[in-house]
């Protein structure tokens, strides 16, 4: 299928349109603790993709009939700001956002100790403020950090990245134009550095061999994200640590 506006080539001399190598991330920027009111918050950016996450709770679960007497209930809401894409996104829930909220919830459920907080609710909000592909991955990385900042007991981080097939080549971290006109797009998330895949979604035609190669590259990517998440969180609480030592 050819679409209007598709560039003739998306990989020229082994480089991608934005100058990246095939297995290179866009610049990643991460900030933790960006909001005052939220229990935890974080910003995660892959290049021009800009995700903000905030965590409220654990707090008493309302409405009460949704309470679980044994454990906490996780609620996720993924949402795109109306101005986050070229054509305005209609505000409110869409079928796409409902599905993504569901898979993010299922991914995060792998690492939370729900039994520690019976009858409570944990709300995770992911707002995509600017979208240039891989928004669910950026959102998940941000949510993971926001949960950590909120002090919600977790086994580990969830680390996520996308891989794709563009002009027949397998690439890491699908960027804007590659998402629109690439052949295949796959989102993956793992529990920290472990071989445990908690999010996996693929669109497009690939052979089994290509698929397994993509999965391997995605796992390498997730590992890099995991290191970044750890580094940022350590950095955030470093000053406190030093003060204690100097006293």
């Amino acid at each position: 299928m050819t679409k209007a506006g598709k560039p003739e080539k998306m990989i020229i001399n082994g480089k991608r349109l934005d100058g990246r190598e095939l297995e290179e991330f866009r610049p990643i920027t991460v900030e933790v603790g960006v909001l005052k009111r939220a229990g935890g918050s974080a910003i995660f950016r892959f290049g021009d993709t800009y995700a903000l996450s905030a965590v409220y709770g654990p707090k008493p679960m309302h409405p009460k009939h949704l309470q679980n007497p044994q454990k906490a209930v996780l609620r996720c809401r993924y949402s795109m700001a109306p101005f986050s894409t070229k054509e305005r996104v209609r505000p409110g829930v869409s079928r796409r956002s409902v599905e993504i909220s569901k898979v993010l919830n299922e991914a995060l459920s792998n690492v939370l100790f729900f039994e520690d907080y019976p009858k409570t609710g944990i709300d995770v909000f992911v707002e995509i403020l600017q979208a240039e592909a891989s928004t669910r991955c950026a959102g998940l990385n941000a949510a993971s950090l926001a949960l950590a900042e909120a002090g919600v007991p977790m086994r580990d981080f969830i680390s996520s990245c996308s891989v794709g097939k563009v002009d027949g080549k397998i690439v890491l971290d699908v960027g804007g134009i590659e998402d629109n006109y690439g052949d295949v797009d796959m989102a993956v998330a793992t529990i920290g550095s472990e071989d445990k895949i908690v999010l996996l979604q693929l669109d497009g035609i690939v052979t089994k061999e290509e698929f397994l190669k993509m999965l391997e590259l995605a796992r390498k990517g997730c590992l890099q994200i995991y290191e970044k998440q750890k580094e940022v969180l350590k950095e955030k609480y470093k000053t406190g640590e030093l003060d204690v030592e100097s006293q």
Binding site: S101, V103, K208
Partner: protein, 257 residues
Amino acid sequence: MLKASENYVRKLIEENMRIDARKFDEFRPINIETDIIKTAEGSARVIIGDSHVLVGIKMSVGEPYPDAPDEGVLIVNAELVPVASPTFEPGPPNENAIEIARVIDRGIRESQCIDLEKLCIESGKEVWMINIDVHVLDYDGNLIDAGALGAIAALIKAKLPKYENKKVIYGEYKGKLPIRDVPIAITTAKISNKLLIDPNLEEENALDARVTIATNKKGEICAVQKGGKGYFTTVEIEEAVELSIKKGKELRKLIEV
């Protein structure tokens, strides 16, 4: 009906048994009937074990999307009708129904099994819209596979109505839909660290994670969706891919003419 508990299902599977005595890579009996709804342009009834899904296709004419002015429009919707289960509530589709519809949609769309360009009437102005509605009538698990099977079976048999003087003449046809591939979705469930296909309701309630993989005629993968609150290892994913390709081939024989 009395249902087996989650723990019992898990315990059996740990001992390499299933609640209905199937093998781990065995489907329940599948029954597919097409053209059963006269008012729809295409239809199929799929019964897998005690899961019963009815798929109807309605064709209409509308405006194409601005980024694909020469292509017909595909819309998939799933209704978890309250007649199917005491857990299904009336009202707009919930997240489960939306996920089912979107995974079925992805298998059909990404396999490019419909030649959407042939459904263009006037570039940028008028194209055929294909509405695939998946109606779940009886729920005993594995709705994605049943719905996807029904959708492609109905698409293969669907007919294109006549279109004259800007009016669709329902009941009079000018041909079939341009279908060029047969994507099949197979869901693999992970329970107690074992992989099995076609989970029934009791198994679905006990599963840790599931992954749906749609494959085309060539045995290539065209859509993947992982679900459930657990995880898969790389080796498990590889095994699920192999199962999906193998079972996809078997199921494809049931609907190909």
